[in-house]
Symmetry: C2
């Protein structure tokens, strides 16, 4: 199927969506000491945007977010949390959408459903960077990771949405054990610490951090890691889900 046919299909799908409501996902990943966000780049217009989409009439906003997440990352069972709903009537310039569509040969009228006002429900997702293959959608040709502190200008109020998501994550990570979702299934204490340092943007004392984490009783020691380095290899930990559930409930 040609790209423009996909887009026609999408535009025809308008009536199946719940009007006025969209969902945007701030997908966080952790890589090389940086907290990353997954962004899409539109074809031709080269504008950047958060992965987002619309909500089917019999679908919850959370399900819509999960669907979008799956389409963009190929990962299911993602840690997902709603953080804010952006309900301003003027969330920015919708010309981008018009231009994007025009660049594909669709000239939308002012009344077209895609150019109406949308409230967007923001979800942030924490994913294992190594498991994710950023997948562009039909409007974008690339999905790529950006340092959350060094994002390009985004369409609409998406920069604001990213900022709010980061703020929420920083407030959350300290008293709710969500950080593990950003690491692979097993990890060293060092990796965990540098994740926390990156998210909170401050140095932590190794010794105390380790004690605190171990005392939570949610880390399971797996095995030694073979590093090939001339020193003692670190333990590798796995995060114990049952214990976490108790704490978060």
């Amino acid at each position: 199927m040609l790209p423009s046919e996909n887009i026609k299909d999408f535009l025809d799908q308008g009536p199946e969506y719940l009007p006025s409501v969209s969902v945007d996902c701030v997908i966080f990943g952790f890589h090389e000491q940086q907290l990353k966000v997954l962004l899409l780049e539109f074809k031709k217009t080269k504008a950047h945007a958060l992965p987002g989409g619309f909500v089917f009439k019999n679908e919850s906003t959370a399900e819509a977010a999960k669907r979008i997440l799956w389409e963009r990352t190929g990962v299911k069972d993602i840690y997902l949390e709603q953080f804010y709903t952006f309900g301003e009537p003027n969330r920015g310039n919708w010309d981008v959408h018009k231009a994007t569509m025009a660049s594909h040969g669709f000239d939308l009228t002012k009344e077209h459903w895609l150019l109406q006002r949308f409230i967007t429900v923001g979800y942030y997702a924490l994913v294992d960077f190594s498991k994710v293959k950023p997948t562009p959608d039909i409007f974008s040709d690339v999905g790529d990771w950006y340092d959350v502190h060094d994002t390009p200008p985004l369409i609409l109020d998406h920069n604001h949405i990213v900022a709010k998501a980061l703020e929420t994550l920083q407030l959350t990570i300290d008293h709710k054990l969500v950080g593990f979702n950003l690491l692979s299934e097993t990890f060293t204490m060092n990796e965990l610490q540098s994740l926390y340092e990156t998210v909170l943007d401050k140095k932590l004392l190794r010794a105390n951090f380790q004690r605190k984490m171990l005392n939570l009783g949610i880390l399971e020691r797996v095995k030694k890691k073979f590093t090939g380095k001339a020193h003692k290899p670190p333990f590798v930990y796995r995060f114990n889900a049952e214990a976490l559930d108790k704490q978060n409930s």
Copy 2:
């Protein structure tokens, strides 16, 4: 104007609202050692509900919430905070609306805008109980305060919404200084403490509570209170807004 004409006006207003989006307000007040919520009781059907409404096409959800708040309480400049958006496709039984309208002589078809699916954005408000005169809307004949732990069954998912609002308030009050909004402009340390004890649902040590509050540097001592009792009257405090702004920023 007769009630049913008001209702007709309301029903005709459908096209002016943003489709699929509503706003519900959990209005908290503090009275007689109880945390209260303002609830409406529908005429005839006697069902209870949160004050809520719809969003005009050029209005933000926050503005809509403020408007509803003003209509129900007669108070402006209310402390208002968005806490969650309820985006399930099945948020409960919409028969109540149909029945309510039927009781006013309007037989709504299944396709009527009022009976469609709505996402609702939840806001909680903190108001000075003594300043508020609960005002019913056109569907309800009474607005009344209920102990948040002793509410009647509410329509749709409104009980759930109240629970979530309370949860948010409890998490917030400890590290964000929002409690003052629930008291009158001046208050004694005792009143402030019993507010905290009620919201957090636990006893606090008077001496330490007082120290903590005073050390925040946001309380301004006003004057002695004449109680008519045979003992030392307490100081009366006023909450100093500028100092708070610094802390919350």
